[in-house]
Amino acid sequence: MDLRCVLLPGNPSCQGCPHAIGLKALSVLENPIVVVPAGCTTIIAGFNPKQSIDLPVVHVPFASAPAVACGLSKAYDNVVVWMGDGATDIGFSTLSGSAIRNDNILVVVSDNEAYMNTGIQMSGTTFWKAKTTTTPAGKREEKKDLALIMLMHRIPYVATASVGYMRDFVRKVKKASKIKGFKFIHLHSPCPPGWRFDSSKTVEVARMAVKSGAWILWEYDGSFRITGMSRMFRDKSKRIPLTEYLRVQGRFKGLTEEDVRTIEERIDEVWKLLDVLENTINKA
C-alpha cells in the first residue's frame, strides 16, 4: 500500500488513535479538500498557524459539515467530510439532506462509538451495555446502524470499513473517489482511552471486532456485498468467540453471560439482514 503520511509527525493525537490510522487513507485522493466538524480531529489537526494534516482543511461547526462540503463541491471535486459519530448524531439531518441531494462528496464517519473529544459520552452508535461517562451503568439503548440507514438513502456508494483492515478501507476510498455523487463510508475506529484498552492494541481490537462478527465489512455500489475479511466470517464457526472482543475492553466490564448472549443474538440478526441484502441487491 502506497500511503503518503498526510498526518504529520508531532500531531497531538492520543497514543493508538484510530483516526490517526484512518486519516492516512485520504492520501489516495487527488487534491482533496477535507471538511472537519468539531471532534477529536479538530484537535489532532493542530494549532494555527501550523497544522498536522498535510491537506487543505476546513474546520466547521458540529452539524454543518456535509452542507459546507456541498457548497465547496460547487467549485471543486474530491471534497471529503471527515467526521465522528458525534457530528453524525447532532448533524444527522444535515447528513441525510446531503445524501438526498446526492451531493458530489465523500463522507467518512470515523466511529469510535462515543463522544470522545468531550470525554467519552454516549452516542447513537455506542454499543448496548457499554459504559461511558454519561452511561456509567452501561448504555440502555441499542446502537443505530448508520451505514444501513445511509444505504436506504439510495446513494451510489455506501460501505463499512475498519482501521484494522486498511487495505480494504483504502480500496473503498479509491473506489468512492471515482464515483460521482454522494459516497458514504462508515469506519470502525476503536478508541483506546474511550473503550479502555491498551493503546498498543487499536488494530488488534479493530480486527477482533471483525473476526468476532461484531463489525461487518460490506459495500454497496449498485450491488451489495460482504467484503474483505468479513466474507470468511459468514461462517459463524470461523469467528473468534465474541467474549474475546468484549472482554478486552474496559467499557464492557461486568457484562453477564446473558448480556453476551443477547449481544450475540443481535449480531446474528444483523448478519441475517446483510445476507438478505447481499442476495437481493445484486446486479450480477
Binding site: P56, V57, V58, T94
Partner: protein
C-alpha cells in the same frame, strides 16, 4: 425598466443582476417567495446559478458558507425562526471574514406563532459581525441587495439585507429594475481576502492562540468601523449610476429640526407622512431613518445631540428598552416608543399622535404604543 414587483421579487431580481452563482435556502414565510422566484429564474435559464435545496436553514447558510469559501458569489434568505436556527453559522461566517449576502425578511419570533413583522429577529445579529441594513420599500430592497455584494466583498464581512414581512416582502410597488450592463459596471467580479483551494494546503478555522484570536476580533471591529465610509462611498457611487443615492442613513427634514424621530424599516414611510403633517403646522420635526444598524451610524447621530430625539422601535430588549432605544441612547439622550411588535399595525395617524405627544413633552422614557 420600471415594473411592478413585491419586495421579495425585487430582492430576487437583484440577486440575479448581481450574478450570484450559488443560492441555498429553506422555505419560511414570509421569505419563501424570494427563493421561489430565484429557483424559477434558474430553471428557466434566465439566471446562471445553482440552487441547492436543503433540509434546514442551518444547512442553507452552511452550503453558501462552503460555496463562498470556494470563491463563488453566494446568497441565502430567511426569517425569524429560520435565522435563529442558523444562528451558529451566522457567527461562523462572519468570524471567518467571508463575504456573502442574506436577505432577512423580518418576522416575529414565537410563541405564539406569528408570521408578521417586527425587527427582533434581525436585531439578534447585532453583535455577530454582520453588516445589517434595513430596506424601507421594494426599491430599496433591490438597490441595497445590489450594493450589499459590493460592500460585503470590499470588507470581507457578511451582509444582511432586512425587509419587513408582508409590508415590503409581499407588497407590490413600482420598482425601477436596472439593466444587467449597468449593474455589471457598478458591481465588479467577486473578490475576497482568501479562498480555499485544493492546491493550497492551509487550514481554515483551526484552533488558534487566544491572543491571535482576539487580534482577529479587533481587526473585524476596525473593519466594521471602516465599513461606514465604504457604505457611504458605495451608496454615493450607486447614486451616480442609478440616480438613487444611499448611505448609512436617510435624513428627512432634519437640518432645521428641533425634534428628530429615529427609526428603521418600512414604517418610516408612514412616519414621513406624519412629519409632513406636523411640518405644515409649523412644528420643526424631522426623521432620521437608519438604513444601517451595523455598523451603527453613531457619528451621524452625534451631530444631533442638541435636538430632542425620539426613537421608535420595532424590537425590544427584555429587561431594558427598545433595541434601537438602547443604541441611540448610548449616543444621545432620547425618548423611546416601542410599537408595532408582533406585526401590530402602526399607521401614519398613530405616528401623528405619537409625534404630537413627543413634541408636547408627554412621552415617558419608554412608552409601549399599545
Amino acid at each position: 425598466m420600471k415594473t411592478i414587483l413585491t419586495g421579495n421579487h425585487a430582492v430576487a431580481y437583484a440577486v440575479k443582476l448581481s450574478r450570484v452563482k450559488v443560492v441555498s435556502a429553506y422555505p419560511i414565510t414570509p421569505q419563501t417567495t424570494i427563493v421561489e422566484k430565484i429557483a424559477e429564474m434558474i430553471a428557466k435559464g434566465e439566471m446562471d446559478a445553482e440552487f441547492v435545496n436543503v433540509e434546514s436553514e442551518h444547512s442553507a447558510l452552511s452550503v453558501v458558507y462552503g460555496s463562498a469559501l470556494a470563491g463563488l458569489r453566494s446568497f441565502t434568505a430567511t426569517s425569524s425562526h429560520g435565522l435563529l436556527y442558523m444562528y451558529e453559522m451566522c457567527w461562523w461566517v462572519s468570524n471567518s471574514r467571508l463575504p456573502l449576502v442574506m436577505a432577512v425578511v423580518t418576522r416575529t419570533i414565537g410563541p405564539p406563532w406569528n408570521i408578521h413583522t417586527d425587527h427582533t429577529d434581525l436585531m439578534t445579529l447585532r453583535d455577530s459581525g454582520w453588516i445589517i441594513a434595513m430596506a424601507e420599500n421594494a426599491q430599496e430592497a433591490l438597490d441595497l441587495t445590489i450594493q450589499s455584494f459590493k460592500i460585503s466583498e470590499s470588507l470581507n464581512l457578511p451582509f444582511a439585507v432586512g425587509l419587513d414581512a408582508f409590508v415590503v416582502s409581499h407588497t407590490a410597488e413600482v420598482v425601477d429594475v436596472p439593466d444587467q450592463e449597468t449593474v455589471d459596471e457598478f458591481l465588479p467580479e467577486r473578490k475576497q481576502a482568501y479562498r480555499v483551494d485544493p492546491n493550497d494546503v492551509f487550514a481554515v478555522g483551526n484552533i488558534a492562540d487566544n491572543l491571535e484570536t482576539m487580534r482577529m476580533r479587533r481587526e473585524m471591529a476596525l473593519d466594521m468601523e471602516k465599513a461606514k465610509g465604504v457604505i457611504d462611498e458605495v451608496g454615493r457611487e450607486f447614486g451616480e449610476i442609478f440616480g438613487r443615492r444611499y448611505g448609512l442613513v436617510e435624513e428627512y427634514m432634519v437640518d432645521d429640526a428641533e425634534y428628530i424621530v429615529v427609526m428603521t424599516g418600512a414604517w418610516s414611510g408612514d412616519a414621513k407622512e406624519a412629519v409632513d403633517i406636523l411640518r405644515k403646522r409649523g412644528i420643526q420635526i424631522g426623521l432620521l431613518k437608519l438604513r444601517y444598524i451595523r455598523p451603527f451610524p453613531r457619528e451621524v447621530i452625534e451631530r444631533f445631540d442638541d435636538r430632542k430625539i425620539l426613537v421608535v422601535d420595532r424590537s425590544f430588549s427584555m429587561g431594558h428598552r427598545g433595541t434601537l432605544g438602547i443604541e441611540v441612547g448610548n449616543v444621545v439622550d432620547c425618548k423611546n416608543v416601542v410599537a408595532g411588535l408582533c406585526g401590530v399595525d402602526v399607521g401614519f395617524e398613530d405616528f401623528k399622535e405619537m409625534f404630537e405627544r413627543f413634541v408636547r413633552g408627554e412621552l415617558g422614557e419608554v412608552e409601549w404604543w399599545i
